[in-house]
Amino acid sequence: MCQNCNLDENQKKLQEVFDKYKDTQGALIPVLHEAQEIYGYLPLSVQEAVADALEIPLSEVYGVVTFYTHFSLYPKGKYKIQICLGTACYVKGANNILEELKKQLGIDVGQSTKDGKFSLDACRCVGACGIAPVMMINDDVYGSLAVSDVADILKKY
């Protein structure tokens, strides 16, 4: 009677994504983008579902997921911190901001805090170079940073 009844919420959403891209040429990357939106990351089970739905070998899906830095095999924190290490930010001392973030959070780049609140990643330019150095926490951009700003910004979350 109803095919999707026993699927959980996320699976249902994923199915909708599959339906949406059914006839799209080169659908894999857009599908992975949306799948990561739903799950927050791309665990093996999700990659398997994608491989099945698009009829692509799992190895190819995995190959694509690991090629692009935007896709993650591990869960990220509730607040994703991205510190820009692009040229403009680097020249203006972004490294020192990164050191301070590591110190405050007690984690290294690529890791999440134990409580799952923050994850720390370095990225290459968010296009706000005019106000370097820059970091993003989820979609909020913080510019013209000084080392002494870091603690106050983290407190907001």
């Binding site: 857009p30 983008h33 106000i131």
Partner: protein, 612 residues
């Protein structure tokens, strides 16, 4: 949209002119600086005071990032006021004093480099030296409203092309204009289109490269956020010229605002029938799809970009076959950069002769630069080709902050090189920059001062290419790694005699042997710093010092006993407890404990701490 007459009707539709139009710069940089709360506050007070004669709008980036958030007021008489660094409080004043009482808030107006405040951005020295073609609408129109684009001649070039010109005439016009690609290599755009037009195939594609991978550049982002329709219009023109009905825009996922505005623009253009079937009542149809990148620099390279749109790992393909014959999904394809496209509608409207009078003999028109790093006026500028770097840095850019000395400007990102002070008077164009060992690149221009170590900068770029190498070809995958190791050794103070020669030899081998542009250009930052700053390399290798005081392993922090008054501030702030002493007599730093963070030097009020 059935005809040009219909388009003209929209352009000429008289909308009631409000007494005041207030626009808030809401590109990524504006939003980051706090434009959102300012916009909301303006709206809130205007509602609260029941002001019916004001229209509050958003706009894209006007180019002066350091002064964001920026609010501009246009009066019905045609006056324009540029308010800078606006916050919620200033927003209240602007409404109360300027709008309600009719007295502009002179204190908040833009100033010209420390001189008296003037009225608006167009009167500043740095703006007067610019010519805005690609950025014509950025900061002037509401990018989320297609009518504003049309009011500024938007979609008229497409109308003209479809109703009055043959595809071959469009291509000839571009050839005559001398427009060269703004994505880096400077390939003549008309020629690229001509090749694709000549290819025989019922399916062809038009792609727009909005991947903007150069870390430190944001020209394309600003155009996408500030004037998305110009890209759609130009892509449709390209489709007509080469015989394609489908376009793809490949945009970085790191640009959420650009993605949102592009999606909106595509939707509006479809509603108006400016994309879709039978545009302007002709038998030409064209559609555009957006594809998001996923954080891989190499995907800016044309063949890798196409592989990525196909849904695969973004690895480059050997050329030939060139995309004009065998590109996306194996079909003839053209790929142009965002800024290249942004120029095209204007060229069509104003003609090739108008365009090719701007610029130098071999580089026509203007170039947009994202100016950043150690320079006073960070932001976005558009200059005629042929301007000197000195004019860009000192007249438009306002010089180097804190009285420091200019050391070098980096253009071309990780594929480019640095330009030292001795070449400040070179006229900027494609060929001159190549001749001095750099390149135009896509428009990132990062200024470095005496505090930047050039070996460290070379190391930074190599680190970037090592991370971003896709791994397909060994010269790039392994070669750049080896170069990075050598640079690590040198910056760590472990450099040896002959290291420079080894670096050079490896650099030239990689340039010769790598598969794609990424590898072929990866050694450039090293070669160009070696060309102009070899002494700095030598100081690291033979004297084990870093003249700029950057490379931590070669540094030590010291206290000048004559200047130290023994206040103890440094010791209290030292995170490593490396500073000891007795109050009122000079302190000392324990070099074994010191982690070289520099906090003491920052905190000392007497300049008593120095590094060497």
């Amino acid at each position: 949209m059935k005809s040009l007459t219909e388009l003209k009707a929209i352009k000429q539709k008289v909308t009631e002119v409000p007494d005041y139009k207030i626009v808030v710069g809401m590109a990524t940089c504006g939003i980051a600086a706090g434009a959102n709360p300012v916009f909301k506050e303006l709206k809130r007070i205007a509602d609260e005071k029941k002001l019916s004669n004001v229209d509050i709008q958003i706009t894209g980036c006007i180019g002066i990032c350091r002064l964001e958030p920026i609010v501009e007021v246009y009066t019905a008489k045609g006056e324009r006021y540029t308010y800078v660094k606006v916050d919620a409080e200033k927003a209240q004043d602007i409404i109360q004093k300027h709008i309600i009482e009719g007295k502009p808030c002179t204190d908040y107006l833009i100033c010209d480099d420390g001189e008296a405040c003037i009225k608006n951005i167009q009167e500043t020295k740095s703006f007067k030296k610019q010519i805005r073609i690609a950025l014509r609408n950025c900061g002037n129109i509401n990018p989320e409203n297609i009518d504003e684009y049309i009011k500024n001649d938007g979609y008229f070039a497409l109308g003209k092309v479809l109703t009055e010109m043959k595809p071959a005439e469009v291509i000839q016009l571009l050839l005559d204009s001398g427009l060269r690609g703004r994505g880096g290599a400077g390939f003549p755009t008309g020629l690229k289109w001509k090749f694709a037009a000549a290819a025989q195939n019922e399916q062809k594609y038009v792609c727009c490269n909005a991947d903007e991978g150069d870390p430190g550049a944001f020209m394309d982002r600003s155009v996408l956020e500030g004037d998305p329709h110009s890209i759609l219009e130009a892509m449709a023109i390209a489709g007509y010229a080469i015989g394609s009905d489908q376009g793809f825009i490949y945009v970085r996922a790191e640009y959420p605002v650009a993605v949102k505005r592009l999606n909106l623009a595509i939707k509006q253009a479809k509603e108006y029938g400016l994309l879709g079937n039978n545009i302007f009542g002709t038998d030409f149809s064209f559609d555009i799809e957006l594809r998001l990148g996923a954080g891989a620099f190499v995907c800016g390279e044309e063949t890798a970009l196409m592989t990525s749109i196909e849904g695969k790992r973004g690895e480059p393909r050997p050329r030939p076959p060139f995309p004009a014959n065998k590109g996306l999904f194996g079909k003839p394809t053209i790929l142009n950069n965002v800024e290249t496209f942004a120029n095209i509608p204007v060229i069509i409207n104003k003609g090739a002769d108008w365009f090719n009078k701007i610029g130098t003999e071999k580089s026509k028109g203007t170039k947009v630069f994202a100016v950043g790093g150690k320079i006073n006026n960070t932001g976005l500028i558009e200059i005629p080709m042929g301007m000197t770097l000195r004019e860009v840095i000192y007249e438009i850019g306002g010089g180097i902050p804190n009285g420091k000395a200019f050391k070098a400007a980096q253009t071309g990102g990780p594929s480019g090189g640095c330009i030292p002070a001795e070449h400040l008077d070179v006229a900027i164009d494609y060929d001159n920059l190549i001749a001095i060992g750099s390149m135009m690149g896509s428009g990132g221009l990062i200024v470095m001062d005496e505090d930047n170590c050039m070996v460290d900068i070379a190391h930074f770029f190599l680190g970037f290419t090592v991370d971003e190498s896709c791994g397909k070809c060994p010269p790039c995958r392994i070669g750049t790694h080896r170069m990075l190791e050598m640079l690590e050794k040198i910056t760590a103070g472990k450099g040896e005699d002959k290291d420079i020669e080894k670096l050079e030899r490896l650099a030239y081998s990689i340039k010769e042997a790598a598969l794609c542009g990424l590898g072929q250009t990866a050694p450039n930052p090293v070669l160009s710093t070696l060309r102009y700053f070899k002494d700095e390399y030598k100081a690291h290798i033979y004297q084990k010092t870093c003249p700029a005081g950057v490379c931590k392993n070669l540094l030590s922090y010291n206290i000048d006993a004559e200047k130290c008054i023994g206040c103890g501030l440094c010791a209290r702030n030292c995170p490593a407890n490396a500073i000891t002493g007795v109050v009122k007599s000079p302190y000392t730093i324990d070099k074994d404990k010191c982690i070289k963070c520099g906090v003491c030097m920052e905190k000392c009020k007497f300049g008593a701490i120095y590094k060497k």
